[in-house]
Each structure stands twice: as structure tokens, then as C-alpha cells.
Symmetry: C2
Subunit: 101 residues, 2 copies
């Protein structure tokens, strides 16, 4: 399981990033936070695709960033969500401890 | 180590969330993504503070959310950042694999 989040100012680049993540089957947890299972090949492909975004002219070196965080089962077991749980949240995180308000 | 991210539409609530996270010594990795060490008591306090935000009138139940993700050493070892590394990134994640562009 991986969590990937981004800060990307340019609309076109941000959309490209979101589409790349969704295409790889990641779930959108929050506007700029995605999570899901990635095989080794898929992860390599995605890393290359995202790194390429940072080479585009519209990338703002002073502020844009993408975080790629491999998650351990420990995180999946203890993850908490305050507020609206994402769609297919249960299916995604079988054992998640969700705080429903 | 914990990662905490939020989607909060209301400016005042979002600022309250950010201030609560920064006050607890978390580092701002991205606009709405924070990371840092939290002791058990600090975590409990923060969880209560954040859960209280979701009870305020300005909280939008249909879209606002806060994600609290405990991180395993595994994540800290393998974390990657594409683009601008956050301030004090090295100090924060000793062994992080950072892709600097």
C-alpha cells in the first residue's frame, strides 16, 4: 500500500498527476491525497511519470512537490479518518479504525 | 512518527487545524500534509482537538476530512519526495530517500 500526495500549483500538471494516480488504481482519499496497492512495476512506472512532471516548464520548483510514502501494515491497521470516509474506504482498508462523526 | 492531512473548506477551521498541528511540533510537508513525532498523550490531545473541529458548524460533512496515519519505520526509510524538499526535511527523516530535481 502506498500513500501519494501532491502540492502542484498548475492546473494542467495537477490534473496530469491526479489522472496518473487514478489510472494506476489509487483511491482518492482527499483532494490531493491518494492511497492504494501498487505492484513493483506499477510503482516504478508511476515514479517515472511523476518525476517527469517535475521537469515540465509549468512545475514551480519553489513550491510544487509530490510525496510518495510506502505504508506498512502497521499504518493500515491504525489509520484513522475524521469526517467523511472516502468511497470504498472499507473495501480499501479492511481493518481501518474509522472515527465516524 | 505520524502523517496527518486534511481537506477542510472553511478558512477558519482549516487555520485552526493547521495551528493545532504546528503547535504540536509537526512539520508542514505540503499545504495540507503534516508529519512529525507525537507522544501518546500529545496524539490523544490532538485527536480530540481535531475531532472537535468536525463538530463545528462550519465543518462540511459532505467533503471535509482529516486523515491520521501512524507511520512505521518502514515508511520513514522508504519515503520519497519529488520536487522541493520541505524545510528541515533531513533532520526530520534522517534516512529519507529524497529525489532532488
Amino acid at each position: 500500500m502506498h500513500l501519494i500526495s501532491y502540492d502542484i500549483g498548475n492546473d494542467r500538471l495537477r490534473l496530469k498527476a491526479a489522472n496518473a494516480l487514478l489510472r494506476m488504481g489509487l483511491h482518492r482519499l482527499q483532494y490531493s491525497v491518494f492511497m492504494g496497492e501498487l505492484g513493483e512495476a506499477a510503482l516504478k512506472h508511476l515514479e517515472a511519470e511523476l518525476a517527469a512532471l517535475a521537469l515540465e516548464k509549468a512545475w514551480v520548483g519553489a513550491s510544487d512537490s509530490i510525496l510518495i510514502l510506502p505504508l506498512h501494515q502497521y499504518s493500515e491497521d491504525l489509520i484513522q479518518f475524521i469526517g467523511k470516509a472516502p468511497e470504498r474506504w472499507d473495501e480499501m482498508t479492511g481493518q481501518a479504525h474509522t472515527i465516524m462523526i
